[in-house]
Structure formats: structure tokens, C-alpha cells
Assembly symmetry: C2
Homo-oligomer: 331 residues x 2
């Protein structure tokens, strides 16, 4: 009898450690540090029957995009798209030769172009993102991704996605999570490529929007994009958008900047078992190192709150075995 | 050899007709008329490899709610909720005794209350739907559903759901469709009960919204509902909301009123195989009969367009074997 009991316990232990090993194997680009361990523990906790269990429909995970799932230096990629569009559209806008911020964009003088601050930035975005149908805009983005190259890496922008985060998304998905992007980026800028890049489908992408309207043109229904802001999905806007679009409070949230702080707070206050994490850009060799002083992806208050509350902080240099899919593994 | 061939053909025919029979069995509350046949044919077409095939991720189905999935007479149920809330909140608003439209609502004189038209209606909605957190509002709706009774059927409002439409939702879901509600109703009014009623989860409910804002109160993050319209998900707003929330064009749409026309046009213009349908309320014995002259759920232009374009029109009296789940089958 005793012999069988020992055998049984032995088999159970082997099975349990096999499960853990399999889980860990799904995150091969993460070094075996505290963040990876916290992720694996969280997923084990919510999927195991017991007090920490979370039923599958409530397993909502939200990810910021810029700086969390793909890079955001030397400028937000969507803004690089807008600048390229200004150049492409210039022949149709002779008045831009004399008109800021377009004049300086066309002269390659970004500093002067952006001297007008947020207003100048918004003018550039609206001039390049509105005035066409939703289908036309989708095609413009697809064509840009196929041809544009990142200035540092000389690769298509949608190759600058973080391999460890894609593994994390997949790990959550196979454990019954529904994974969402909740980004300050334009929702229609993202939806055309997120499925291929992250396996996140269009209906699970939440982002900033401009006003669109419905129109029948010669009997054909169209959606037209207007040069008018609808909603900015950043800071306070993130929990608002999560509530509006998803209608459930997440149990998992990952961001990288102060723009994600309220989304993380909203998730951290979920009474169910939850996980809250930040990507900290600390790697100026394989990527970039920036935080409190950066104009792009500033991480200051959220870093303090993460430290105070014990949220996970993925230190890119320490925690990521590799960064982009095209990089070979580094020891 | 010939014998085996005959046997093989025989088995194939049996298998094929078994598949059709199984599909038809999933719609037992539909009479075997042109609408049921069109639905079954559509699902067979999109799921069979060939020129009419639609890959599962593109199988997006959208349903209006009021008058399409549940009843809407003698008034939209959400408005019945608002009137009940006026009564419940009256003790906290002594000024309502002298102030229209509240005064007449409290006196039970709905006609006078609504003499102020849309402005009066909006005042009633805002006074009863705003000024609390999202969690508080969800609880108010749940409590109301548990106690309120429909004036004609003396049953909870969420029992007045259409059995044939629930079968249709289920039939689509088991065939790889993602089923959405796209309704003029308030999204947070619907989300608390749609999962139990239709198995449609909160994140697949699109509706009208009021402005909410994020607030930290003593360190606790809250979402507060403001008395301010954000978006009306009706008419032109439906394709706009489909694009914003779902980001894919549906291949299947079902509505029942002129408020659904643009959603049906948007779906009917999908180059992929698609299905567009209307519920026509023709049954004054088991439910209600109304269309062109009704102030609730008016069906006029959309009925003309359905006739002109050959869209499916489910005639409740003719096509539905039973209406509500609590009704016994009628021959």
C-alpha cells in the first residue's frame, strides 16, 4: 500500500513540475527573474481551482501598444507615418510650401515644425489621417508599412515588436485570456497590422478615434473620416475606454509610461486576482534607455507608483533575453 | 465495385441530409418557410469551402436589441426602467413635485410628461442614469430586473426575449460566428443581463453611451457617469459604432426598425457572402402588430428597402412557431 502511495505522489510531483516547465517554456525570451516568475505564478493562480481562480470569461488582459508591444523611438511610429504622408501629399497641397507646420516638415526641420506644440502636431495628424473613407485609410497604412523603414534598424516598423511580449500574449491566450490592446494610438492605424503582428484581432484593439460619418454615395454606403477628434485613449481615457469598449475590468494590464497609469490603477483595484506590470526601457544597446525625462513614453509617476505598490517592472536589459524577433538570442 | 460505389453514394447522401437536418433542428421555433431556409442556406454557404466561403474571423453577426431580440411594447423597456427610477428617486428630489416632466411622471400622466418631446425624455433619462459610479448603476439595473414586471405579461422584462432569435444566435455561434448586439439602448443598461439572456458577453454589446470620467476617491479608482450624452448608437450611428467598436464589416445583420436601416445597408454592401434580415411585428395575439405608424420601433423605410432588395423579412405570425421562451409551442 505504502509503495503505491509513494508511486502516486511521485507521479503527481512529476506532473506538476512538467506543467510549470511547460508554462515557463512559453516565455523563452524572458530571463528567469522575478518578473517572469510573477507572470507564471499569476497564470497558475488564476487557472487553478481555489480562492485565486478567475473564470475564463473574466480573464481580460490589456496591453498598451507604443513602448509596450512595439518600439516608440525616436518618435511614435504613427507620427513617422504622418510625416511621410505630409511628404506624399505635398504635391496636392502647394499652399504647404508657405504654411507651418507643413513647410518645416517638408524642409526636414522637425524641430521648427513642432515648435507649435500640440496644435502643430494635431494639424499634421488631421491633414494626414482624415478626408478619406475608412477603407482608403486602411490601404494607405498597409502600403506605408510595406515600404517605410525605421531610421535606426532599417526594417519595416511592424518588425520592431517585442518578442517577449508576443510570447506573453500567447501564453495568456492559451490560458483562456482575451487579450486587448488599449493604446493612445489611432485605432484604425493599428487594426490593419495587429492581427499579423500579435494575433490580436481588430475587435480587440481599443484606441484613439477621430469622428467618422456614414454617407450613401450613389447608393454605396461609406464611412468618411473627418478632421475632428472623437476620443483620446490615454491617461484617464484608458479606463474610460476599457469600460466603454470591453465592459469588464481587466485582471491583467501591462504598460510602459505615465499614459498607462490610470489603466494600471483601474486593474490593480480589481478585487479578483490581478497582475499589473510595466516595461522599463533600460537597454541602450539593443533598444533605447529612457524614462523620467523622455518626451516620448515618459515613465515617471507610474514608475514611482509601481515601486510603492510592488507592481512588476520588466527591466528590458535584465529581463529580456532578446528584444525584437529578428535579433538572435543574447546570453 | 459498383455495389461499393452505390453504398458510398448512399452513405454520402445520408450524411449530407443529416447535416442539413441537424442545422434545421437548431432552429425549432422557426416555421419551415423562406426565412428559415434562407438562414440555413446562408450558414451552409459561408461554412462550405468554395466561392461563398467566409473564414471564421470574418464571421461577424450584428443584432439590434429592442424589437429584434426582446420586445419593445408598450414602451422601450429601458424607458420603463427610467420611469420606475423617477419614482424610486422622488423622495430625494422634492423639487420634482413641481417640475416637469417629473411632476407628470410621478402623477402617472405619461402623456403630459412626454409633451416636452425629446428634451423631456432626455431629462428623464439623465436624471435616472447619471450621477453614480458604473458599478452602482449596474447594481441598480440588476435590482430593477429582479423586481419590475412587464405590464401585459406580468413577467420580468428579461423574460420577454424572442426564442427564435436566441436559437438563431446560437446557430450562428456554433458555426463560428462572433455575435454582437448593436443597439440604440444604453450599453451599460444591457451588459448586465445580455450574457444570461442571449449568451452575448459584455464585450460584444455595442450601444449608446453617456460620458463617464475616471476619478481617484481616497485612492480608490472609480468611473463616474455624467448627465451628458456621449454617443447615440442609432441610424447613421450604427455603422459608425460597428466600425469603431468591432473594426470589421459584418456579414450578417438583423434589425426590426428604421433605426437599423444604415446597419443593414452597411452589411448588404459587404462584398463577402452576407445576410440581411428584419423582424416584422405582425402578431397581435402572441405579441404586438405594428410597423409604419408606430412611435416605438417604427418600420417604414427599412421595410420598403427590404422588399426592393429582397432582404429577409421574418413575419412573426408566419415564421415563428413560438415567440417567448415561456410560451408553449403553437401549431
Amino acid at each position: 500500500m505504502k509503495k503505491y502511495l509513494v508511486l502516486f505522489v511521485g507521479v503527481s510531483l512529476v506532473a506538476a513540475s512538467a506543467t510549470r516547465a511547460r508554462a515557463a517554456d512559453m516565455l523563452p525570451s524572458w530571463n528567469d527573474g522575478p518578473v517572469k516568475q510573477a507572470i507564471v505564478k499569476f497564470v497558475a493562480d488564476v487557472t487553478r481551482e481555489g480562492p485565486t481562480f478567475v473564470p475564463p470569461p473574466a480573464r481580460i488582459a490589456v496591453f498598451d501598444n507604443d513602448g509596450t508591444l512595439w518600439a516608440e523611438q525616436p518618435m511614435y511610429f504613427q507620427f513617422a507615418f504622418a510625416l511621410d504622408r505630409v511628404k506624399a501629399l505635398a504635391p496636392q497641397h502647394p499652399e504647404w510650401k508657405e504654411q507651418e507646420p507643413f513647410k518645416s516638415v517638408l524642409a526636414g526641420d522637425l524641430k521648427t515644425a513642432l515648435a507649435g506644440g500640440e496644435k502643430a502636431m494635431m494639424e499634421i495628424v488631421m491633414a494626414t489621417h482624415a478626408g478619406m473613407t475608412t477603407d482608403e485609410f486602411a490601404k494607405i497604412v498597409v502600403d506605408w508599412l510595406a515600404t517605410a523603414r525605421h531610421p535606426t534598424f532599417k526594417r519595416p516598423y511592424n518588425e520592431l515588436i517585442y518578442r517577449p511580449m508576443i510570447e506573453l500574449i500567447t501564453f495568456l491566450r492559451v490560458n483562456g485570456f482575451k487579450t486587448y490592446i488599449v493604446s493612445g494610438g489611432g485605432v484604425e492605424f493599428m487594426r490593419v497590422w495587429t492581427e499579423a503582428a500579435y494575433r490580436i484581432p481588430p475587435e480587440q484593439v481599443v484606441g484613439s478615434t477621430i469622428v467618422t460619418h456614414f454617407e450613401l454615395r450613389d447608393g454605396v454606403p461609406l464611412l468618411l473620416r473627418e478632421a475632428k477628434l472623437d476620443f483620446i485613449d490615454d491617461k484617464d481615457g484608458k479606463p474610460v475606454a476599457i469600460n466603454k469598449f470591453i465592459g469588464r475590468r481587466p485582471v491583467f494590464a501591462f504598460g510602459n509610461s505615465d499614459g498607462d497609469l490610470q489603466m494600471l490603477q483601474w486593474t490593480a483595484a480589481n478585487p479578483a486576482t490581478h497582475f499589473v506590470g510595466l516595461v522599463h526601457h533600460t537597454d541602450d544597446k539593443r533598444e533605447w534607455a529612457y524614462d523620467r525625462e523622455s518626451s516620448v513614453g515618459r515613465l515617471d509617476k507610474a514608475l514611482d507608483e509601481a515601486t510603492a505598490k510592488g507592481w512588476a517592472v520588466a527591466d528590458m536589459k535584465r529581463d529580456w533575453k532578446r528584444v525584437f524577433p529578428f535579433m538572435f538570442e543574447q546570453k
